[in-house]
Amino acid sequence: MNAAAAPNTRAGRMAARLAATEDRLSGLVLPAGAGWLARAREAALARVKSMGLPGKRDEYWRFTDPADLMSDAPKPAEVFQITDEPAMFMGVDRLKIVFIDGVFSAKDSDPLDEEGLEVIRLSDVAATDIHWAQELYGTLEAEAQTPVQRPLAALNTARAADGVLIRVTGQVSRPVSLVYQRQRDDAELILHHVIRVESGAQLTLLENGPGAARCSIVTEIDLADDAHLHHVRAMGRDHQRRALTHVFARLGARARFKSFTLAMNGALVRNEAMVWLNGANGVAHLAGAALGDGVFHHDDTVFVTHAAPGCESRQVFKKVLHHGAVGVFQGKILVEQPAQLTDGYQLSQSLLMDDACQFLAKPELEIYADDVKCSHGSTSGEIDADHLFYLRARGVPEDVAKQLLILAFLAEALDEIEDHHLAEDMRLRLKRWLNRHAD
């Protein structure tokens, strides 16, 4: 490294960043472990050190300041007790895997032996060879470092002491439900999950948080040909929490991946998703509904790569912002040259309930194949005055009319939830949130 490089040149800034990263991470002790997992963690740490930690002046972080996501200790966040509605997914018959303040809790979880499933705690791996997991842990994350670097995902790969490795080999009779509970104001959660769905197998994965004052969750998902994964995530209602999540998903031929995220409240949340459609006729749908009031910053950063022909991808992200809340969307569809007959769709919309709210969006398409259908749209605005008047002219009171229109606005995202009962449950939760936050 050229120590003499002027600090105001690109090389100089990079050198300073790497030195600062080295300094910050010098005292970092990786989780105890041996064998392949230890090697994967060390390699990930080396990745972080080669890239440097991000800064708010990076193009990739231009709308969201990463400082609070990587400070030495999380800012304490009050534990938010929900007493006015049932816990998320309460009525669903599911295999529960519970983490409290970021640590797996055997006594709160169901036994991990289930027909068609292999579930292993990351912290139980020790030096055991688990070939399928070994091939994946940190692999998709490493692949996701191009074309855009995501050093905080690599840092998670290096630091995560807990998480689950799930392999689906057949039909699983009920969803796997990852539950992140919190008890301490200052808890930090760093989890890394690996999910492999074998050819023809199917799984529904539920996640509900918030889990800690600060969360970092990386989920690496590998779907073999004809594998299906349906992912439904609800991030909890804590106001002060900060969270950074990464979902990396690689799809084989005819594989289907559907992911929906519900986010209500949260001081700082960034959800990144990177999907590779590597086999012909794969389908990936990513959707989210986010509602914030006041101190709320919610960032959806999505990158979908079409590498094979005949695949379909959809991104549908909707946000409802009140009282100065901030919404961010960075979404990209990359269609590589072999990916003919791609069907790509990207929609990001925000409803701004007052003038103080902000929606920052960067929608992108990059297309190298010539026979593709790709559309994208990004809008922000108020509730449509003509719609509101029409409803009121029929006798619907203004507050009820607004709620109907907000739920209608969110409907296209909720439609991405396959299970109708779950979708209806989410809709009711959204409705209750809107009632609590009606002006």
Partner: protein, 252 residues
């Protein structure tokens, strides 16, 4: 039923007067028609009565059965019995037609202190009324007006009117964009609602709707005022000679 006296209205953010001293007195049980050239203020009148924003009443009154309409919110006017069939019904993606209708009906009932309609009774009622207007089950299930043809949108307006049973119905160019068959269907829907306790104000450009919905009184509107009032023969006169002759009679 509806008494409008010397109504003056201007656009809220522009110094442009649209209604300039309009008066009307509509009795229960009667059908009044307003005809007039483009830009005479017909649609503004309907919007102001229904309570749409963007207009400012600078003078005059409008009362529905003695109650001051202009002081009420749009939803209060609806609950009080006023209904506007829109010239351009909006499409509202994501709001189901049935959900919308049921929410509207029950909101009005609640505002009037009446019991809400059960979902079974509502379904029975909406199905029978929809059948009369040849509105099929699929249209009822779709989001409000989304993907409806012009005729379907107008039929949907009449369905809402039939369900809500308002006492004062304003039809704003309900005939525009309708073919002859659709117009007949809409007119039959309106005629079925004619009753002693209900009044209609039919706003139209053309006489042909009035062949099907026979008015008791016809008004000619120009430049924000009623300039001539007569019987059904006045509509025929307009049809035959246009507005020019009538406008020429009136001192500027």
């Amino acid at each position: 039923m509806l008494e409008i006296n010397n109504l003056h209205v201007k656009l809220e953010d522009e110094d442009k007067a649209i209604l300039k001293g309009l008066s009307l007195d509509i009795q229960a049980g009667s059908v009044h028609a307003i005809m007039g050239p483009n830009g005479s203020g017909k649609s503004t009148l309907s919007y102001v009565l229904a309570g749409r924003g963007g207009y400012q009443v600078t003078d005059g009154t409008a009362r529905l059965e003695g109650e001051d309409l202009l002081e009420m919110e749009p939803e209060e006017r609806a609950a009080a019995g006023l209904f506007l069939a829109f010239q351009y019904p909006v499409e509202i993606p994501g709001v189901g037609n049935m959900t919308f209708l049921r929410t509207a009906m029950n909101a009005q009932r609640k505002a009037r202190g009446e019991a809400e309609l059960s979902s079974g009774d509502f379904l029975k009622l909406v199905r029978s009324k929809a059948k009369d207007l040849k509105i099929d089950a699929d249209m009822l299930k779709r989001p409000v007006n989304v993907g409806f043809s012009g005729g379907e949108k107008k039929r949907n307006e009449i369905l809402q009117m039939a369900m809500l049973e308002p006492r004062m119905c304003i039809l704003d160019e309900t005939d525009s964009g309708l073919d002859v068959d659709a117009m007949k269907l809409v007119a039959e829907g309106v005629n079925a609602l004619r009753s002693e306790g209900r009044a209609f104000l039919v706003i139209t450009h053309y006489q042909r709707l009035l062949d099907h919905i026979k008015p008791d009184v016809v008004h000619i509107m120009a430049d924000g005022r009623i300039i001539k009032t007569g019987g059904p023969e006045l509509a025929l006169e307009v049809e035959n000679n246009g507005y020019a002759d009538i406008l020429a009679e009136v001192p500027a």
